[in-house]
């Protein structure tokens, strides 16, 4: 840890609660100029809340907030921005219909004296900035046409080059390929040389250890450890995060894992020669009862579209689906649900009602089974309460608005929606993305339970660990086509990456 410098940002005794639920309890946090500060902790441990306080998103909290030793109180994110604080949020916030250059200069395009945008200058400067970041792309191309990883890199670049003194990155690497992560780290190190203070939040502990100078660990709204990254290890950090021996939980999957002999139970889903415009090309596979089928591929390989077709949200251009041997063409998601198909999409926002209580979120998919005309709220609450207890959702209050729950707990609610009357086929997209070790483990156990109950489960993920930890059989999807099937043979992270 660099010595002899005074902190650029200092927080003392920060406490923040959301309606009686304390998200932060008396947290002290200091950030030095020219430091990369890693932040780890389970979902709901308080990392994101603390960062949102720093970025001026949450303005009500107790405790002291000092910038350059001066006590400050931001009233909005704009104030924080003016003070030189910039944040890259977990979810992409770009304008896909604008050009790359416009996105880089979003909000402060260079203009001439008449106030007209200087397109040529903007394109040139955007190109220069991006190439310093190692991104080689035509600044005048439409951003939405680029791969997601590149879009995320461009968004990060925009924030990094905005001249901010303090940059907060929340899970910046989750959508990036390994070489892209490398470029990001090189840039972060260069910014550190220039004196920028960087906060780096990630669930990838290896990334944190590689790039940061200092690591702070959060647990249950408290700071439980702060150490130089050279003086700690992955195991030690995980132990601090979850407060119990963590070695067994995090499997590295670098060694070969033996996939079981393929199941000969009944075929629940048969997909035949599915094609969709530029996304999917002649995809065929089967999913069997009591089996977890993993579908692995890089971002943009067609997984998302495939999952939408299975749930009746998208219509394929060609190909057929059959559930339990009966051909189906789903006209709507309602038809897919009736046929016994359930989907948990990768974005929680897309399937949950944040302003509604937990029990209404859980009961929405099964209302037609428990009530014909009139609602039965007591029964809804009972069912929800059982799910909340079974999945250990915290806090276990079914009347609480969903928005009050942490991300990992929201993900469990998303699963709980489908579990009271289990479907025949459960399609899970990125079921553990952005989750901490403990919550990941919970989800893995839930999925294994469901498999034991005889559900056919499809897990689609861009994270090899997710697929390896869950799947009995693995398909590798590449540019919309199945390029490899792993079954009854050894598989490892390396083999998967190689196939993709």
């Amino acid at each position: 840890m660099p010595e002899g410098r005074s902190p650029i940002l200092e927080l003392q005794g920060i406490t923040k609660s959301f309606g009686g639920v304390e998200a932060l309890r008396g947290v002290d946090f200091a950030l030095l100029p020219g430091e990369i500060h890693g932040l780890v902790g389970e979902n709901g441990a308080g990392k994101s809340t603390l960062m949102k306080i720093i970025a001026g998103v949450h303005t009500e909290f107790s405790g002291r907030f000092l910038i350059d030793g001066q006590e400050t109180h931001f009233r909005s994110a704009r104030d924080a921005h003016a003070a030189g604080i910039a944040m890259v949020h977990q979810e992409l916030s770009v304008a896909p219909d604008l050009t790359v250059a416009e996105n880089v200069f979003l909000g402060n395009q260079p203009t001439n004296r008449l106030g007209l945008v200087q397109w040529r200058r903007m394109a040139r400067e955007a190109g220069e900035q991006l190439s310093r970041f190692g991104i080689d792309v035509d600044p005048m191309s439409r951003l939405g046409d680029l791969p997601i990883g590149l879009q995320q890199l461009i968004e990060i670049a925009r924030v990094l080059f905005s001249g901010a003194r303090i940059v907060i990155l929340d899970e910046p690497t989750s959508a990036l390929s390994p070489p892209e992560v490398e470029r990001l780290f090189t840039t972060l190190r260069r910014l550190r040389e220039q004196g920028t203070a960087i906060v780096f939040i990630s669930h990838f502990i290896e990334d944190i250890l590689r790039v940061s100078d200092t690591v702070t660990v959060f647990r249950n709204g408290r700071k439980v450890a702060e150490t130089a990254s050279t003086a700690t290890s992955k195991g030690a950090l995980i132990e601090a995060m979850i407060g119990r021996g963590g070695e067994a939980l995090e499997h590295s999957y670098s060694d070969d894992l033996m996939l079981p002999r393929p199941s000969d139970s009944s075929v629940v889903l048969k997909v035949d020669q599915l094609s969709l415009a530029r996304s999917l090309n002649d995809v065929s596979f089967e999913a069997r009862a009591g089996e977890v089928l993993g579908i692995y591929g890089f971002m943009g390989c067609g997984q998302q579209e495939l999952s939408r077709i299975l749930f009746g949200k998208l219509k394929p251009d060609a190909g057929t689906l059959a559930v339990d041997g009966k051909p189906k063409t789903f006209a709507s998601t309602a038809a897919a649900r009736r046929a016994g198909v359930a989907l948990v999409p990768e974005s929680r926002r897309a399937m949950l009602f944040h302003q509604e209580p937990v029990y209404k979120n859980i009961s929405i998919s099964i209302l037609d089974r428990i009530s014909s005309l009139l609602l039965k709220p007591a029964q809804e609450r009972d069912i929800a309460q059982r799910q909340v207890e079974q999945l250990q959702i915290r806090p276990p209050v079914v009347g609480l608005d969903l928005g009050m729950l942490s991300g990992g707990n929201q993900q469990k609610v998303a699963l709980a929606k489908w579990l009271t009357y289990p479907p025949k086929l459960l399609v899970l997209c990125e079921p553990t993305r952005g989750m901490d070790v403990g919550a990941k483990n919970d989800v893995i156990n839930i999925v294994r339970d469901l498999r034991a109950k005889g559900l056919a489960i499809i897990v689609l993920s861009t994270e090899p660990e997710t697929v390896l930890s869950l799947a009995d059989r693995i398909l590798v999807l590449k540019r919309g086509a199945v390029v490899r099937e792993f079954k009854n043979e050894p598989v490892s992270k390396d083999r998967l990456l190689e196939a993709a």
Binding site: F311, A334, R338, L343, A350, M351, E356, L367, L374, L375
Partner: protein
């Protein structure tokens, strides 16, 4: 009022009073507006705060109330229906068109039995609502544009039916419900009360009502929960058209005549009642309770301005300003709630 919000509210009380009040801003603000307006007019005019005048206000808001029931469903789904007044007008004209008129009414109409006339008129408004529904869900025309076109289509059918003339007779059942009274209470007030109560019960206690709130709260999530979102959206468009049709038939009996452009002011009034009451324009929040408060705010305002000495041309402007204020509160309340839930 607004008991549809009390269930989630109970769970939030633990958070403390200030956030609770903030999250309930959309229910509290219209109520305060109503109390303020009533107090103001009661002080300004001795003839305002009387039992007789309360009866007047109730009668005056009845047609708006009947139309606003269906519109509440639509706005809860984050859609809009601009064809309500047009459909009310054409349905009122249709029921007169199928009724035997006095000999001096020069309309080439088709007189039928009263029950048949009412049934045909109801079928007409339901059919127009179905066209709205299909345009919105199957073709994918935004409801704003779809119902704008329907407004014109309804006006066109009205024009063809009456051809610039005025019809007076409607079936006796409609005459009774529109202009009769029982025990001193006008039937039209009773019908409006029953329809508002019915709407409230459907929204609060039925599965369909829950779906309306969920589709309005987060349409994408509703779809990913396997709800038939298009069916629900289509249903609310038909409900809205049928409520408008009933309002139109009773309105024609209430006014004593059926003619072109008779309901034009009801478009703005109905939307204003729903929105002033605090139902969110972004969907998912509010309900019939809010609409009732909104109806009273508008009713008290319109009626009260007649009781005080004020330039009648200024009234229009005042109504516009009140509506703008309500819209500001509506949007602001949404933001406060999102913050409280953040």
């Amino acid at each position: 009022m607004a008991s549809s919000e009390t269930a989630p509210a109970a769970g939030q009380r633990a958070k403390g009073l200030a956030p609770f009040l903030r999250s309930q801003m959309r229910n509290i603000a219209p109520f305060l507006t109503l109390i303020f307006l009533s107090g103001f007019f009661a002080l300004a005019s001795p003839s305002f705060a009387t039992i007789d005048n309360l009866g007047n206000i109730l009668t005056q808001v009845s047609v708006t109330g009947i139309i606003a029931v269906g519109l509440t469903f639509v706005i809860l789904c984050a859609e809009i229906d601009l064809s309500i007044a047009g459909i009310a007008n054409v349905t009122g004209i249709a029921v007169a068109y199928f009724t035997l008129q006095e000999s001096y009414v020069n309309i080439p109409n088709i007189p039928l039995a009263g029950a048949a006339a009412i049934l045909l008129a109801l079928l007409l408004c339901a059919a127009l609502g179905l066209v709205n529904a299909l345009g919105l869900t199957v073709i994918g025309i935004p409801s704003f544009i779809m119902t704008l076109a329907m407004m014109q289509i309804a006006a066109g059918i009205s024009a063809l039916l009456v051809r610039g003339q005025i019809a007076y007779k409607v079936p006796s059942l409609i005459t009774t419900l529109g202009s009769g009274s029982i025990g001193g209470i006008p039937w039209i007030v009773i019908v409006a009360a029953i329809m508002l109560l019915g709407g409230h019960l459907v929204l609060t206690y039925t599965r369909f009502g829950r779906y309306v709130y969920m589709v309005g709260g987060n349409r994408e999530a509703a779809e990913y929960s396997g709800l038939n979102v298009k069916l629900i959206l289509g249903a609310v468009m038909v409900i809205s058209a049928v409520c408008s049709g009933i309002g139109g038939m009773l309105g024609v009996a209430h006014f004593g005549s059926a003619q072109q452009n008779e309901f034009d002011t009801y478009l703005l009034d109905s939307i204003a009642a729903v929105v002033v009451g605090g139902t969110s324009l972004f969907g998912g929040r509010g309900g019939i309770g809010n609409t009732i408060v909104g109806l009273f705010v508008l009713g008290v305002l319109n009626n009260g301005l007649d009781h005080v000495n004020i330039d009648s041309f200024l009234k229009i402007l005042i109504r516009g300003v009140i509506l703008l204020m309500a819209l500001i509160i509506n949007v602001y309340a949404q933001r406060l709630r999102e913050k409280a839930a953040d």
